[in-house]
Subunit: 800 residues, 2 copies
């Protein structure tokens, strides 16, 4: 995965867009992920309209998946035998072009001009190409694509061809194609069989300029419809034909253009899927969505898209002066997070959003822990929807807990529809912390919104069932301590250990939150069978929770006994042996002191109240030295705590790593989809890191401090009906309330009331301390300034 060459960004550094000015065929798959458009329901990779060349064709519908066998060399009780994999659905992006019979293909002829631009305010991907065909005809092709943030079922493309020199005959074929062939389906013939040709045609209808295809999956029993309709403008005579086949729908437009003349086609796309609805119902739903799209019209869709985003940015924007790469990256991240979650609507938010096939399209704990905080303070309804999806799957989690012999609910480590799909239990089933992470996201959302209806209908039950899990999973030892043995924390270079500090602290919060919310909603709690005795037993377990501490070293061991283990021999580890999990057996990784991501440091972020300042500093330095950051989730947490303990330049370096993960393809796998949680990390590193933002108990706390490389940071938040803005410079912090009632805030530990009048407060100086060291060769790339005053790019890293 790691290759020796230095990653290069191919995108211009601009504050509000991501622009590519040259087509790099070898980076096509990466750019398809970066330029992916989605609304959380539909996801379209940034494939070229003409289909080829491509890195990886990809069109996705949230939670539309096929089942595939999960083989086990040695089976075990409770192992899932079948997994869920998101599949590439009917591709509606295709618009093929023939210029005087010559297919428009950028690999042939000559590309006089190429530009693609993802506009973060417009919510569009535009492309502007001038191409000279091998027969020396020159055309200009411009396209603008959007997946509507306001119309869940709709995407649209405005496609224009202009004759630049002589007159040309133009044929445009706008298509729907199902069962595209995909590169690399892996070695297992059964998996390839399940996923190679996943859709079975049920219906195909063409009608004028509209085509609808309906398909179903073979095993998972899901049905989908895809439809397209067209508005076509041409100066001259026009021939339009529509045809359909089981896996292909095609509208063919032929015309002749004189120099300067344009053919303009607006292609409306509609998608729908269901596990319940009949073929005719689904067909009609798609046709209706197309009608709605045409009624709104292309301009209408564009306007609504921009208006929606304007509103979003008003409550969510982050401004970073001094580091333009990070400025671009944090907005790019926020945009993709919004895309991933905004219209997911009670379906999951996958680790890659709907931008690629990575991780089989599954959702993991990262959504609750890293993505939902961003949404909670910027677009809270999307966070509520994601948690409502968890609630919908609660019966499956309860069933899974029963299968495992446990109480309460055991949410899946990885899933699309709610069933556990993990094929390796030590890093799957045993990672029970996901249940506390869900509970934490519930508590955070409740604190941020005071949404009592959500609390009653969704939050309470999630908290209660996860608290029950913890109460049964742990036990009291002879000294009365509450132990949680044999579980796996977030760090995947350890597994199945006793009293993982992160897990125990998060379980403690889970147990307390359940008791608190049950007390606040006595009737609903009673309906869920919660007695005062049960709630008391949660509080008791939380109070007795065992948190191991190594007195000799003055640090918390990640799990009991961890600090007695041999330290990994980093000096003997070669650069090409990272990421380590591809080069060392789990056996060696688990038994030594080396971490993929420091869950102890994450515990210090999420449960900062459980650590003294001195412990934070010592723990941070200790885990810095053994953290190889083979996880793309690692850098953001290191950034947040580095900032908290005053290591501001180091925090800035980590901010760069998390923010540029995909724009610089740092993990070398952006081709498979974006790292949504890592992108969320740019926001976290800025807001929770340099802003020092922490929430809970109805009071927002800040402890802003900037590194030398950032001269000004300004971020907007939504909290309990307020909209506020925090602007930090090297020595002052300005708090402004843009909307809502006055609010108590804390600034570096001191409480203030923030009302109509802005608060302008001094930032205390940061005491200088030695910079902690990382394993040799695993230092983050420095965000220093080169002689020309530009930021240097982050260095190469192999991570997952």
């Amino acid at each position: 995965m790691t290759t020796p060459d230095t990653p290069q960004t191919v995108y211009a550094v601009e504050p509000w867009c991501v622009r590519e000015q040259e087509l790099h065929l070898d980076r096509l798959a990466q750019s398809e992920s970066v330029f992916a458009l989605s609304n959380g329901h539909i996801g379209l990779r940034g494939n070229l309209e003409e289909g080829e060349p491509h890195g990886l064709p990809g069109s996705y519908l949230n939670s539309f998946y096929e089942l595939r066998p999960l083989p086990h060399a040695e089976a075990g009780y409770g192992y899932p035998e079948s997994g869920q994999t998101a599949i590439n659905v009917t591709n509606g992006k295709l618009i093929r072009l023939l210029v005087d019979d010559e297919p428009f293909d950028v690999r042939y002829g000559r590309l006089n001009h190429h530009e693609r631009k993802l506009d973060l305010r417009a919510g569009t991907l535009t492309r502007d190409v001038e191409w000279r065909s091998p027969a020396d005809d020159t055309v200009r092709v411009t396209s603008t694509r959007l997946v509507s943030l306001t119309h869940r079922a709709i995407a649209a493309i405005c496609y224009e061809v202009e004759a630049v020199e002589g007159p040309v005959r133009i044929v445009v074929q706008s298509e729907l194609v199902a069962n595209e062939s995909l590169p690399d389906l892996g070695k297992d013939p059964r998996v390839a069989a399940a996923l190679g040709h996943p859709l079975v045609g049920e219906e195909h209808v063409s009608n004028g300029r509209r085509v609808v295809l309906v398909h179903r999956t073979k095993h998972s029993g899901l049905r989908m419809g895809a439809g397209m309709s067209h508005e076509i403008d041409a100066p001259g005579r026009l021939s339009v034909e529509a045809e359909s086949f089981p896996d292909v729908g095609r509208v063919t437009v032929a015309t002749r253009l004189e120099p300067g003349q344009k053919l303009r086609i607006v292609k409306y796309l509609a998608y729908g899927w269901s596990s319940q609805r009949s073929r005719p119902a689904l067909h009609d739903q798609v046709v209706a969505a197309l009608a709605d799209a045409r009624l709104t019209g292309w301009e209408g869709l564009l306007e609504q898209q921009r208006a929606f985003l304007d509103d979003f940015w008003a409550g969510a924007d982050v401004e970073v002066d001094g580091d333009p790469e990070v400025q671009q990256a944090v907005r790019f991240g926020l945009f993709h997070i919004l895309q991933a979650g905004v219209r997911a609507e009670r379906r999951m938010i996958p680790a890659k959003g709907l931008t690629g096939p990575g991780y089989d399209g599954h959702t993991f704990w990262d959504t609750e822990t890293f993505v939902l905080p961003v949404l909670t303070y910027t677009h809270a309804s999307a966070a509520a929807d994601a948690l409502a999806w968890r609630h919908m799957t609660l019966p499956l989690a309860v069933e899974r807990a029963r299968q495992l012999g446990l109480q309460g609910a055991a949410f899946p480590w990885r899933t699309i529809r709610g069933q556990e799909c993990s094929g390796y239990w030590p890093a799957g089933t045993a990672a029970f912390h996901i249940n506390a992470d869900i509970a934490d996201a519930v508590a955070r959302y409740l604190d941020a919104t005071e949404d009592r209806e959500f609390e009653r209908e969704i939050g309470l039950e999630l908290l209660v069932e996860t608290a029950r899990l913890w109460r049964g999973l742990g036990h009291h030892d002879v000294h009365g301590g509450f132990r949680i043995d044999g579980v796996t924390g977030p760090d995947e270079y350890s597994a199945v250990a006793d009293n993982n500090v992160y897990t125990n602290l998060m379980a403690q919060r889970n147990l307390r939150a359940a008791a608190d919310v049950a007390m606040r909603n006595p009737d609903e709690a009673t309906r869920l069978g919660v007695s005062t005795e049960e709630a008391a037993s949660w509080r008791d377990a939380a109070a007795a929770m065992l948190i191991p501490f190594d007195e000799r070293l003055g640090v918390h061991p990640q799990s009991e006994n961890f600090t007695n283990h041999a330290r990994w021999d980093f000096a003997a580890t070669k650069p090409d042996q990272y990421p380590m999990l591809l080069n060392f057996p789990y056996f060696e990784l688990y038994r030594k002191q080396v971490v993929k991501q420091a869950d102890l440091v994450l515990a210090m972020h999420l449960r900062g109240d459980a650590f003294t300042d001195e412990e934070k500093e010592r723990n941070f330095a200790y885990y810095e030295a053994i953290n190889v950051r083979d996880s793309s989730l690692s850098a953001q947490t290191q950034a947040v705590i580095a900032a908290e303990v005053g290591q501001l330049d180091l925090a800035h370096d980590y901010l760069g790593e998390t923010a540029l993960m995909d724009l610089h393809d740092l993990a070398r796998n952006t081709r498979d989809g974006l790292h949504i949680a890592s992108l969320a990390g740019a926001w976290s590193a800025l807001v929770a890191g340099f802003g020092g933002m922490r929430a809970g108990d109805g009071c927002l706390a800040f402890a802003p401090r900037l590194p030398g490389g950032i001269s000004r940071l300004s971020f907007r938040l939504r909290y309990r009906g307020r909209r506020m803005c925090v602007t930090v410079s090297s020595d002052r912090a300005l708090y402004e309330l843009h909307e809502g009632d006055p609010l108590r805030i804390r600034h570096h530990g001191e409480e203030h009331e923030l009302g109509e009048e802005a608060l302008d407060l001094p930032v205390p100086a940061t005491p200088s301390r030695p910079r902690p060291v990382q394993p040799a060769g695993r230092e983050p790339a420095p965000r220093r300034t080169d002689p020309a005053g530009r930021r240097m790019r982050a260095g190469p890293r192999g991570s997952l």
Copy 2:
């Protein structure tokens, strides 16, 4: 696996044979395992000659296997991708019979008489049947089968048909059949494809009364030849025809018998296989073996078989008065252990011997730990051969260690040819104790034989490379203790824990033995690169070895922290939830105090020197209470230590469990092959348990004591060129030296010299102590006497 009905033995209880007097079609597969014949090179299940009905057809050649994919739902570094599976080779046992055109099939017509007998002194399986065909013809069929213990490549069957009433036309078809269809090849289509039809025909030749078939495997590149030739005697006219096809060889004999007349056919079978030798060479080898067999003749083979066994029993027999079931079982076990190992000749001894397809035909640590001790003291050359096989595979073990990033050698957890075939690393790769178990078997063999050539050529290098593994696997903690973290001990209901006491103690012995043997062989050690510094570092690590102890409870935790874990809720565990690994996730089993077999108790057997008497007693009682014995390896160790701590009746109960594992089908899976290590346990429970035999440092120690249910125990041993016999009654022990120089022995701690004169010594009284308790429902079946004075059979158990 557990079924509610009570297991029943279908075999008569006799001291020197296992006899079946009724054919139980529903237990056919079990009897095929019980009646399997083998010499360690060839193994023939006790299938009926006529092929059908069968439970599971089975003919095996040691180490003749096919490769098959090992699929992983989530792959990891160092996971084996391909496994080895012993395959059913060309079946030469087949002799089909037609009586007046009616196929002899016990499912039709009427079986007037049926008897099969495994004769443990003759080394033969005989069958005596009288059958009335549906057409009312009656014939008597007798067959005697042997797999020669003296001619490695040869098996033979003497088959007689006698007309009982009217005259009959008899046709006998003696066959070789390759690629028999097998029931149940599992769910994975790739595995079924690899194993369903594993042999590719290369040559088939028929010549008179002889047929030879040569085949090769598709993937593993092995070639085998099977041949048969015949001696035929008949009173009347005879027609004999031979024919061959790629997968079938057939000699058809037709004759007519008057009442009282017999047709007698001696079928000689020869097998050979090689990964190197050419088709013609292998063909010739088989033909030569057939010639040798015919020269020796049927009577000659029978005589040699008996003579070989007479010699074996003279140095190995165990007599048990008072418990006839155990008497039969211990001889049955010794016979099958001899069969499994005697002519393995530098190939492995599989967990099931060559009696069935269980565990894919793999060998595990049980061979070194449970089977080799028996062979070491009864037929030491077979133990030497088995260890020489390990030595042959040492380059693979060194390569595996390198792959895992370790020093020295890492022997495979399960294998046929030496490559790791385990598909689940926490209970495979991580179970590094197998390396110490091999070293322990080397040390035991060296102590028992003083075989200096073996020591120089094989033993030293095995000890050195395993010691190097341990030195690198462990590390010193800040207090100077030597820790071995994150490994799995023999108990499979725990995994990947720190400082497993069994592992650490066995590694300690391994390190010391390597240093000692290196010192004794300085030139050879130097050639292996062993410096005095390296040997000193082994001794230092051994001296500093950390052995956790729970001061509060006064017991050794199985691994560090084990006694802090929650105790399993046995009261809530239902009888049909055993074996637990089929009903609970590893996750739950690993994190709680419940053991499949008590490796701490095994440590007290093999490293008794490391425990005080009080610790032994307390530890035994502690682990009794959490040991569910879901492993068929468990009972024998419990028996040995129960006897040592004076729990003699309990030891007797456990003796019954281990001894009757297969004769009573206690684990309900004898159909897949015998539990060779469990059968070895009968010997261990008697000799090491009630005899109290321990060895090491050239002195044999005994501490004999009998339970109430055994009135007399007598066992023979070979040790350092001596042959001796120990006979124990309730209050005396008689030591006799049958052969060899005088020898120092210990009797209950006191040293004596045993010379020509027998020693008759008193057995001290056993102090009475309360009987330890087992988990509810997991008590061993009592070996008590029923009112008629017969032993009650052991109760039902589900174990693996």
